[in-house]
Each structure stands twice: as C-alpha cells, then as structure tokens.
Symmetry: C2
Subunit: 339 residues, 2 copies
DNA sequence: GGTAAAATCGAAAACGTTTTCGATGAAAAA
DNA sequence: TTTTTCATCGAAAACGTTTTCGATTTTACC
C-alpha cells in the first residue's frame, strides 16, 4: 500500500519517468496517445505528486508564514480569515504563529519560518517589538515580506496600514463635535507604531480645536485588556471627575471602560462619551452600543496576501520589486456611546 | 549569496558530506576534532538544513493541518490558540484552513492537506457535513487524525469532546432549578452531532423534571448568528408569550436573544431567563451578563494536538495505535441572565 | 528513395539530505 | 611480527520530482 510515484506509472506503461512527468504537465512533446494513457493510469492509481520532492526541485513550497500577536482577537482573527481565504484562492497554504505580544517568541518564530523556507512572511509586530534584527534578517535573505497593522517604520518592506493618525483625529474630532470639552485618552503601549500614531492624532485634534493638551489625561495600557479599561476608567473619574469624553485605543478596553461606568452608574453618553477603535463585534451588542472606528480587517488580510504574492511572483521572474505601502480607509461608526 | 549546504562545508573542510552530516547530528563515529570544526564552520556560515530535502528524505514535514468551520469565532480561535501553542512546543507548525461551514470546501481542504503530506490532521466538521468519504480517505491513507467538538460518530478516529448531552442537561436543569416552568430551546442546525446532543440533553432534563416536551418551543438555527437569535426571540415571544426560560445553542445566538429582549423591554431574568453555551468573552461584558456553559477550548486544542502527536509517534515506530476519545469537563457559569 | 523537418521520447543531472555499510588506519593484544 | 579490535571516515544509494538536451523515430517533401 505504497504511494504512487512517477516511476511506478512509467514502469507499468513501459515508458520513461520523463515522459510520464511531461504527460502529466501537458508538455507539447508527448503524443496524445501516451498522454492519455498516462493520465488514465495516474487517475486510476490516484497519483498525486510528492510535494516534498516538488518542493525540493522547485525550491518553493506554496506555503507562507503568518505571525500575529494574538489569535483570540477579533481584529486579528478577521485578518487571518482574509489571508487564508485569499491564499487558498491562489494555491497557497498558511502557517500561523502567535507571538503572544512577546519579542522573544516573535524572533524565534521568524527563525522557524525561515528554516521552514516558506515562500513569504506576513507579520504584525508584537507590542514588545522595539528591535528589528530579526526583520532585517528576512529582508537580507530576500524572503518576500509584508507587514500589516503593527509595523516597524524602519523596515523597508511592503506594508498594509490604516492611517492611524487620521483615524484617531477623526474619532477625537467626533467627540469634540458632540460637545466634549475635556477629553481623556486611554492609549496603547509605548512601542507599537499605531499606538503612537493614535496618540498623535488625539493631540492634533485637541490642538486643532483649541483644547489644551493635558498629559495627565493620558493613560497608558500595558496589556490592552478589558480589565485595564475598567481600572483606568476608575482612576480617571476619581482623578478628573469633569472629563466628558474619552478616546480609547481599542474596543476591548473601551468595553472595560463602559463596564466600569455601568457599575458606578455613570451615564454614557450623557455624562461621558466614549469612542473605541477597530469595531469589534461585541461593540454592537453591549449596552450602550459603542461608537468606534471601523477598520477593514478582512480586506487588510486580502491586501497583505496580494502584496506578498506580487513580491513572490517578481522574485520568481527575477524581476526587481519595489515595496509598496497601501493605506486602507477607516470610518467612524456612530453608536449610542457618543449620541 | 547562496544558501549554505552540507556540500559547501564538506568542500571547504576537505571532508565528505557524510561526515559533515554526522558531525552536525552528533554521531559517535566522528572524531571530536572534526566535529568541532564542522560545528564552527556551520555556525559561522549560518547553516540551516534545507527542510525540503529533509522532508523528502525523512518523509515527514513536522507540519500538521487544521480545518475548522470559522476562524472569527471565540471558541474556535481559542482552540487554534491551544493547538498552535502545543504544536510549537513539540516542534510542529500548523497550517490552518477554514471550511466556512461548507462541506464542499471541507472536502477540498482535506484533499489539499493530503497532497501537502502533512504529518497529521485535526478537524472540526462543518455544519453541512453529513458525508464522510473525505474523512474515510484520511483513515485509509493512515494519516494520523483527530476530530474535536463537531465530530462524526461514524469515523473511528481519536476525538476530543465535551459531553454535550450532559452539559445541556445541566444548563436546562439550571433553568428549572431557578424556577422556569416553560423552557424553549434555540438549537443548532440539524447535522452537527453537538447540536443533536444538546437537543437531547434539553429533552432529557425536561423529562427528568416532568415538564412536557413541546416541539413548537424548539427553534432551529441555520447559520447560528446573532441575527438569528434576535429573530427567534421575536418569534418566540409572539407565539409563546408565557415562555419563562430559554436554552440557546451558543452564546452568540443568546446575545442576539438578549438584544431583542432589551429592545422590547422584556426583563431578563425576571420575565425570561436565558442561558447560552461556550462562555464567549462577550457574555461577561453585556447587560445583563449571560449565564452559560463553560467549555475548555484552549485545553481542547492542547489535548487534540497531543492525541495527534501520540498517533504520529506510534506510526513512526510502526506501532499500532488505538484511537482515543477524551471527554473534557464543562461547568455552568451563573451570571445575571438566570439570577 | 533520400533528405529535411517535425514529432516524440529518454538519459541523466540536479535539488540537499540521511543512512547503510564497507574501507582504512591506528592502537591493542597475541 | 601478526592478528584483532576499535575509531574514524566516505562512497553511494535513496527520497521523487523537474528539466535540459540530445537521440530516435516518424512524417513531409522533393
């Protein structure tokens, strides 16, 4: 009960391995007769090429690697969805690894993927990532490489992004236009570029509308969790009871903020308005429904894969490839929490 | 700028490829001197074995395949988390595919994984799955194979499960003990074994407590969505306004039920008590907080991988392997919706 | 019939590794 | 010195495919 090989087909048909291989790949220098015979026998023996051998010979595995901080996360799982769907369409499979927001793991996983000789790598950096030697290694080995969402500006690879500054600006502007005068910000960790950019967007919006920036109104998440949202909400209302609006790094944390406000009976949006980021599914099912910034996660995955595919193709054709940076559009979703 | 190979190391050191290979794998018939020389040079040239060649030679890829109905799903993404974490621990990578609840896709993806020659396959069946020829194919090719959660009873592979009947029984019993007299059930689609089992558990609990079963109180989801939850809730209260408890196939749908009750100001738990299934994260952040059945999803992933690994190992050692069925424990989480 | 062109085929190398088994030389025992 | 043992090494096959390039056969043409 062994696997069928070209050799077996060749021997039973009394022809050479070469011809069998060519017949299966529809080469023009095989007569219709032999071609048919090979096809028939291959089919009846359920021949499938040994992909290990194909990989070795062609030096590609039709497999790409994906490293993300967390799988159990609405945004990232949506991106995964986009990537594996698009990859499958184009005949690629996806190996997924999770850095758990740890730089150490991320490094190890990049090494793993390089050793596996995947055809390309897509990554969203962990919050801890402030080194990029491992990313440079990818470039240096000339492995097609795309970053998305949480990226390193210093690495000249293709990127798929949203304009975090602009999106954050719009979110804070939304609060201002709804009448907020004193707006706090619960920001993400210090390293990630998108946390930085959203913070900048927050400041710019305040500036634009002549609201003084007060660094005491900025709270910095470490782990970006529901619990941190509750904690900072509590801290915030005790320190600055007159805050009337808060812009939160992401919906998960914002939901924590709402949970605390619910507990202590602070009225949202009457007393404080809240806006989140990323449009997690849960934001539309909680009370009050959370206003947020919609981020095209699925599309982000699709775009990231297609960029990678372009680079893989040009590498195969030994063409040069210019890294591209694609910015996708966000939009404000107004719900009850800022009504 | 080519990849380093054994051949290169051998030539620069003036020894044979064989010896280089043995040195790197710490064979005993290589002198300490040569061993060290090889190790040093390999390190300075950043040698990593070509995994394509290793795969071909050893007939294994240290890669497993995972097929699940949906990635963007709290339960499944938690299982993924468990599987890839445990797999990485043991030196395996995981290719993830998504059947989108489609039998057709599922079949195709099994074929994809078989062609890729993964070392093993873990699967949770799609709702549409009522055929199992593709699963039999896996067994017939003697690929290590584990099913979890949504399984086919007819396929004698290893399985990781919860006792859906028992868990559902306990959930409904919980409603009864809280005083519910007329309990509806929003069930899952007709095919999946776990939807069937939860339905049976529901009936058994009613029977045990002498509550007559009424098939009109059973609503059958097609897509298991938030929207279906809202829809069936509406249908239910209009047809049977005296229902005072409802057991829902999964939290996502239950959250839809709560959303409708919220809209039309039906008091939960005063008028109707609601219990879900699976303990999705969002269940603890909505109002009222949803009671549910906790299902050890991460642990399920870990267990599934370890079962697969056992089978992979015994196959390598040409030992026989008896498929195992492991049942993990669930527990009722009491929250506001059944208080 | 002879030659040129076209159609069809296959030998062999290559991809890079692992492993078996025999060869060689040196050290130990006789 | 001869024989035996042990340590160290390498030739070569194997894994299964793809592809180049030359060889052979068939067909077409004069």
């Amino acid at each position: 009960m062994k696997e069928t090989t070209l050799k077996q087909i060749a021997e039973t048909l009394g022809i050479s391995i070469t011809t069998v291989s060519k017949a299966l790949k529809n080469y023009s220098d095989v007569s219709p007769k032999t071609k048919q015979a090979v096809l028939d026998l291959a089919h009846s023996l359920q021949y499938t090429p040994n992909s290990f051998a194909v990989n070795l010979r062609t030096k590609e595995s039709k497999t790409i690697g994906l490293i993300i901080p967390e799988v159990v996360h609405h945004f990232f799982s949506s991106v995964i969805n986009g990537i594996i769907a698009e990859a499958e369409q184009h005949g690629y499979l996806v190996i997924i690894l999770q850095s758990n927001e740890s730089l150490e793991l991320e490094k190890k996983q990049v090494a793993l993927l390089l050793n596996k000789r995947v055809d390309g790598i897509i990554i969203s950096l962990s919050n801890e990532s402030n080194h990029d030697a491992h990313l440079k290694e990818i470039l240096q080995r000339e492995i097609p490489f795309v970053q998305f969402d949480k990226i390193s500006k210093l690495i000249p690879s293709s990127k798929v992004l949203i304009n975090d500054q602009k999106a954050a600006f719009e979110a804070v502007e939304h609060l201002i236009l709804k009448g907020c005068k004193k707006i706090a910000h619960i920001r993400g960790p210090v390293n990630p570029q998108n946390a930085i950019d959203r913070f900048i967007g927050y400041k710019k919006a305040l500036e634009q509308y002549n609201i003084p920036f007060d660094s005491r109104l900025v709270y910095t998440c470490k782990n970006v969790t529901f619990e941190e949202g509750k904690m900072f909400a509590k801290e915030m209302v005790s320190q600055h009871p007159d805050v009337d609006g808060v812009f939160v790094i992401t919906d998960l944390v914002a939901v924590g903020v709402l949970a605390y406000f619910n507990e202590v009976q602070i009225q949202v949006p009457q007393q404080i308005k809240v806006i989140g980021f990323s449009n997690w599914f849960m934001s539309q099912v909680i009370t009050p429904k959370l206003s947020t910034v919609d981020q095209p996660s699925y599309e982000m995955g699709v775009t990231a894969f297609n960029l990678l595919l372009q680079e893989i193709q040009s590498k195969k054709d030994s063409q040069s490839f210019e890294p591209q940076v694609i910015e996708l559009n966000t939009k404000i979703i107004e719900r009850e929490s800022t009504l």
